[in-house]
């Protein structure tokens, strides 16, 4: 059975790259362009199994998005995908419940392993 991944990034390039990689594995993909848009997409899309989220975005960044989800008590696993490597920001994401931190340009094998771990596809 397919699962849905919400991919949040203000860059079309990244959304397409991540989306194409995940679709190739059998996932359905929903895109969000920033944290505000992603909250709306999350509410409108039942059964999201994994979120892949950028950090630096306009309107609502990835850390603020994590804070909002944490406050809601969301159980959807989130993996950050970013150019950021600042230890304090990484720790903040970890403390808010993120499951991992991918650094761009990402390696497809890490994305694949992450998706299979947190949103395993069942046959």
């Amino acid at each position: 059975m397919t699962k849905t991944v919400l991919v949040i990034d203000d860059s079309l390039m990244v959304r397409r790259q991540v989306g194409n990689a995940l679709k190739g594995l059998g996932y359905a993909v929903v895109e969000g362009v920033d944290g505000v848009d992603a909250l709306e997409k999350l509410d409108a899309t039942p059964g999201v199994g994994l979120i892949v989220c950028d950090v630096n975005m306009p309107r609502m960044n990835g850390i603020e998005f994590l804070e909002r989800l944490s406050a809601r008590g969301s159980a959807v696993p989130i993996v950050m995908l970013t150019t950021e490597g600042e230890p304090e920001i990484i720790q903040r994401a970890k403390s808010l419940g993120a499951k991992g931190w991918l650094i761009k340009p990402f390696k497809a094998e890490f994305l694949e392993a992450t998706a299979k771990k947190w949103a395993p596809l069942t046959t």
Binding site: M13, P105, F106, T114
Partner: protein, 179 residues
């Protein structure tokens, strides 16, 4: 295009790290790039794109600017397996990844910076004004394209890296940290 020679060690350090970051970034997409001499364009100007990312840290601020022609950015899209990308967006993301690499390298020198999201522009004959501080232009030749990078920086008087914040980045570009 004016070229300002680096005048202080911190700027030179940043500029050297930026040049290394450019090479590493394009290497990750399978392109070997080499620095090339700056030349004034003599042919008809082509449509090009420009991405600007501002940054600021304790005692410094500036921008990294990435400039490339439309066919050049299309070559990057092909390397990224993107059939439906947009020039301005792709240029913006490459500038974002470039600044991310620079930021990680500067962290290892005790220089902590925070970046804005990129602003992009496309057109023919784009011109840039000189910044208030220092700037340096670098041009790199790829397989059949050229990319230009400008580093702008303005330092407060007496700026010094904060060695107490010097840290190795926890992961390099392309890496993964599992929590």
């Amino acid at each position: 295009m004016d070229t300002h020679r680096p005048e202080n060690p911190a700027f030179e350090l940043m500029n050297n790290h930026l040049a290394l970051a450019v090479r590493e970034l394009f290497d990750a997409y399978g392109f070997a790039v080499d620095p090339s001499p700056l030349v004034e364009a003599t042919s008809e100007p082509e449509k090009e794109g420009m991405a600007v990312i501002g940054y600021a840290g304790n005692g410094l601020r500036g921008a990294v600017i990435l400039i490339a022609t439309e066919p050049t950015v299309c070559a990057w899209m092909t390397a990224a397996d993107l059939s439906d990308g947009e020039v301005a967006d792709t240029l913006g993301e490459f500038s974002n990844m470039l600044l991310g690499r620079l930021k990680a390298k500067l962290l290892g020198e005790g220089i902590v910076i925070f970046a804005t999201t990129p602003t992009t522009a496309t057109g023919v004959g784009l011109r840039l004004s000189n910044p208030p501080g220092q700037c340096a232009w670098c041009t790199f030749d790829g397989p059949d394209w050229r990319v230009t990078v400008r580093l702008d920086a303005k330092f407060d008087r007496g700026f010094e890296p904060d060695l107490s914040r010097k840290a190795a980045p926890p992961a390099l570009a392309g890496g993964f940290i599992e929590f």
